[in-house]
Every structure is written in structure tokens, then in C-alpha cells.
Amino acid sequence: MKDKILFLYTVQHLTVDGICGAALAAYAVGEIYFEPIIFYFGMYNLIAFGLQTAAGFFLDKHQNFLRAAFILSLLSLGIGILPAIGIFAQVIFLGVGNCIFHVTAGSIVLQKFTGYKELGLFVSSGAIGLALGLNQLVSAQIFLMANAALTVLAIATFENPTTARISISKKVSAPIIFCAILLLSCVIMRGFGGGGNSAEYVMLFPIIFALGKFLGGVCCDKIGWQNTILLIFVLGFASLQFEGLAPLILLTLTFNMTMPLTLRLLHACNPKFPGLMFGLAAGCLLPGVFFKENFTIAVQAMVVVQFLILLAAWKIFNNEATMA
């Protein structure tokens, strides 16, 4: 049953990001000037990811709202795809709907599952949905209908989540806070360099993003956190030895592999607030969105610093952790 719920949320995630991507793309193709597109896309990102921290915290404090949050997300997204309300309002509704879904489902997945691959699977599908929508391969209406059906299923199968038995911090101490800061720094850094695209193969990199996130979770479950970040470092170094599309794909894959690791460990730092920690991680992607053009990080530095940060975070957490 848990696996079916995970699959449900994973597909739902795909449809939610697909709705937003498709609706924004529908606006963009009709817009003559580039500047409004930049503005509204930026505004969407700010709402969808910037509000997740607050939304997550609210849901952590009011877990009885989780079921209603699914409905609220669906309604907001449904209104958001209507061009008649104007793009400004559309962006607000789409961003809010996306935000609510992410912290709701993310919070539940963090609490229900102990492993990393489930988390990796859940977060992986968004990239594919977004790409399908942005490239107008699937319309917002179709995504919305699918999302509506999935929301009904999600509500019908909803159970109040309880935190599964995982290794957690004994308390939120100064070392644990420092550990969380290190993890969030890694997320910020990923926002500056974890991307990639190919004009020729539009679905290629979204699939790589998704695959990376899933593989990161699988590796972590198989070989452990410490060995996974070593593997990520080695693969990152290997990708720097060659030129062309294949090494870039490998590098992108390795950067995305860190996502389920950081997310799971962040939750473990403050297990009573899964929504908050999920939202914090999402919010830390924003600097990369807005400042990537002005501030670049050399890829060699990213590979090294990411490895060191993650290793340090792991060591600190292990010193402070106990089994729940």
C-alpha cells in the first residue's frame, strides 16, 4: 500500500509541475516581449519555492490540514490555468498551488518512508512534468484532469503520517543547526550549477535530472551515505576529464544525485518539522535561479566543495544522532 501511495504522489508531482509548466508556456508563446516572460517566470519561482518554508511550517503545526491541502492545491492550479484572469493572477495561483502540493506531499513522503530511494523517486518526477509542460508536449488541461483524478485518490487513501523509525538528531543543538546550514549551502550551490539543457533533445536533461535524483536515493540505500557522496565525487571528477555532451550529462546526473541525500538528512536534523525542512531546501534553490548569470562557480570547485560539505554534514550528524 505504501508503495502505491508513493507512486501516486510521484505521478501527482509530475502533473503538478506539468500544469505550471504548460500554463506558463502557453502564456510565453503569446508574449511578444522577453522582459515580461522573465518577470513572470521569476515571480512564479519566487512564489512556488519561496513560500514553501512558511507553508511547510504551517502544515507541520496543523497536520490535520494535510488532506485539505491537496484540495486547495488542485483548486489553485485549476484557477491558475485560466488565461481570462490575467497572467499576474495566474502566476500567483499556479505558484501557490505548486507550493502547497510540494510541502504537503513532500512532508508525507519524508514521514512515511525511511529510505532514500522513495524520496529520490518522489522528487524526480517534477522535472519531467515541467519539461513536458514547458515544451507544450502535454497541455495544462490534460495535466489538470490527471491531477484531479490523482487528488481524489490521494484523499481517499490518505492516512495521517507518523514519522517512521529513522536515525534522527537527539535534539536541535548547535552542531545540528550547523549540519543543516551545510546541507542548505549544498542546495544553494546546486542551484548555481545543477542544470543543463539541450535545444536539440528537449527531454534529455529533464530525464537526467529525474534519473539523478532517483539514482542518488538508490545508491544511498545500497551503499550508504558516505560511500554515495564519494561515488558522486568520483563520477564528477571523471566527467571533467572529457569534452562533449556525454560528460555534461554525467556531471548533471551526479549533481542531482545529491538531492535525496540532502533532503533526508535535513529532515533528520529536525524530524518534527518535515514540511519546514522540505520548504527550506526548496527555498535554497532560488539564489541560483536569480543570480546564476551574475555569479558562476567553477565546476571543479563545485565538485570538490560539494563533496567536502556533504561529508562534513554527515560526520557532524552522526556524532549527534540517535535512532528514533
Partner: protein, 124 residues
């Protein structure tokens, strides 16, 4: 998922093997540091081979990074500290024994190779 405006495709690829200078610097560093590592008490062949591999990786990354940025002395010092941390982290995976001794050994090996490099560039 963050919505991004697509830009021109990016291509990576430092391709160390085509850069003879980078490989020479890496080889020189290994020739300097591995014997010192041996003299500091790490005698197992496995440890020496792993240390050489770690040095190769860190040296290639270091020199290629420095060739891509403005290599002022402050940057070089900062990067050397990061390299030290990287080598310590990687060596800690496989090399048994005191972590303090390992750290001191790595400080020594890196200091010697750094000063050797400075001397080499000053003389040339």
C-alpha cells in the same frame, strides 16, 4: 522544479590528458609527496597507491581551477587549504590510524610540494 529560461547549451570538458603541463605538475607532486608520506610512517603499498591517486585527483583539480581563475596569492592559499581538506577527506576513507597524524602528514606533504612549486616558478 525551478522553471528556467533556456539558454545556449553548455559544454564541459577540461580534458586533462591533452594538457601536458597539468600532467607534469601532477607527476611532480606525486614524486615529492609520496616519499614524504612513506617517511611519515605510511608503509603499506595500498596506502601509498591510494595516496598517489588522491594526489593526482587533487592536483589536477587544483591546477585546472587555478588556470581558469585569477590566480592571486590569496586565491592560491585558499585553494591549497581546500585541497588539504579534500585529501584528508579522501584519505580518511581508506587509511587507518590516527586522524591527527594523517592531518599533520598531509600538511607536511602539501607544504613541501607547495614550496617546491613556488621555488620552481621563481627560478624559472
Amino acid at each position: 522544479m525551478i522553471v528556467e529560461i533556456s539558454s545556449a547549451p553548455e559544454v564541459s570538458g577540461i580534458f586533462y590528458w591533452k594538457n601536458g603541463d597539468l600532467m607534469i605538475y601532477a607527476a611532480a607532486t606525486i614524486l615529492i609527496e609520496v616519499p614524504i608520506f612513506f617517511l611519515c610512517g605510511y608503509r603499506r603499498a595500498k596506502d601509498l597507491i591510494l595516496f598517489a591517486a588522491v594526489n593526482l585527483i587533487s592536483n589536477l583539480l587544483l591546477n585546472d581551477f587555478l588556470s581558469a581563475v585569477n590566480s592571486e596569492w590569496l586565491t592560491i592559499y585558499a585553494v591549497e587549504i581546500v585541497v588539504l581538506a579534500l585529501e584528508f577527506a579522501l584519505c580518511s576513507y581508506w587509511i587507518d590510524g590516527s586522524r591527527l597524524k594523517l592531518l599533520k602528514t598531509l600538511i607536511l606533504t602539501n607544504a613541501v610540494s607547495f614550496l617546491s612549486g613556488v621555488l620552481f616558478f621563481l627560478l624559472n
